[in-house]
Symmetry: C2
Subunit: 221 residues, 2 copies
């Protein structure tokens, strides 16, 4: 096992070195990069659709779509007239900073304010890999159960904000908002949380307002 | 990247060697081991509860609970008077055959017919790691969306059967059974599929019947 730990540390170190390069490049270009992390099916792509519908009027956005295989999520975003780059990991369980660095080469970075990265659907591995992003967002849905912060704490510790999606489905599940909040707050007492329904629209205004503040706050004038 | 591929191959080879040992041991003890794989929150633990409620009358069962952290799922199963061993991966994204081998040491294998392994909630990594199980079961829930077989094909190719859980929630989502089936069948045309609601009870009889046939079919008389 010691050999594997050493190897894993090397992989993480190499990822971290490249992430540092990516972050420096983005800072120099004054671009915010946001890494969206969730389980499969929590609603990252739909959240991106709801977000791009309003944000593209104010900011110049691009998307890096991470997927194990297929271009389905990338195709869902094609109606937005923005640059989209797809990374197929071919079975790999997370994006890394090397693939992000190559994806950035496909954009004209002088014409962007914000890049959204939709990571591979996975609540575990992506939280270990710094992509050079400005910050991470944890996305979790009510139908996954109220125990996700307790069972997968890493991403809820690291994210700059969390989204609880599919709140319209709470009446049909045994999801307890009280249990969810109690576990979440014991991990990260001040994490901004947006309770959202991407289908019904609840909470989207608050999310977009916060996000636009984040992006505007870093655009140099 | 070549170094990482070589390293990954070594890790997988070492896992495969131990998986072979585990499989030989289980065959010699005439025990079936079933590896349950799904996203976080798809309902593996609830499915196990519904399954153990009836199966423990006919077969001697044990459970290996895999979790990143916490013993929550293991505690949910404590009302069943069966051996349960918890493996905390401490951030790791899947179980491997080495941890399974150690977990088996905690059981009296002469007194078991079937061992259920609840893998870490993750639809990607666990499908790459043979644990020495008799077969894998893919568990997916309707609220994750109908595109999961297309987007995460590995597990749907490898599993001996698939469970579509939370069918009671279909009316409240945009899940299309036709799209789901079409993608699933293009990957694996004859995979047994159980359409289940663990809360309402739909489909549980068919699942248990099939499962009991599998277990009975291998118990020597």
């Amino acid at each position: 096992m010691t050999m594997e730990i050493t190897i894993m540390r090397n992989i993480l170190d190499r990822n971290q070195d490249k992430a540092r390069e990516v972050r420096e490049l983005l800072v120099s270009k004054n671009i915010m990069m946001i890494n969206l992390i969730s389980s499969p099916g929590a609603g990252k792509t739909t959240l991106l659709e709801r977000t791009l519908e309003t944000i593209t009027g104010r900011f110049r956005a691009a998307v890096i779509e991470g997927d194990v295989t297929t271009d389905r999520d990338a195709r869902r975003l094609q109606r937005f007239d923005i640059p989209i780059t797809l990374i197929n990991t071919e079975g790999g369980c997370h994006l890394d900073s090397h693939s992000i660095s190559r994806a950035l080469d496909s954009f004209n970075l002088d014409e962007l304010d914000v890049i959204f990265v939709e990571n591979v659907g996975n609540l575990v591995c992506p939280s270990h890999f710094d992509l050079g992003e400005t910050f991470k967002i944890a996305v979790v849905s009510t139908t996954e159960g109220d125990d996700k912060p307790a069972k997968y704490p890493m991403i809820f510790r690291e994210a700059k904000a969390a989204i609880l999606n599919k709140i319209d489905l709470i009446p049909y599940t045994n999801f307890s908002p009280a249990n969810f909040m109690s576990d979440l707050r014991s991990l990260n007492s001040l994490l901004p949380l947006f309770e959202i329904s991407c289908t019904r629209g609840d909470g989207l205004e608050e999310w977009r307002k916060w996000l636009e503040e984040q992006i505007a706050g870093r655009v140099r004038t």
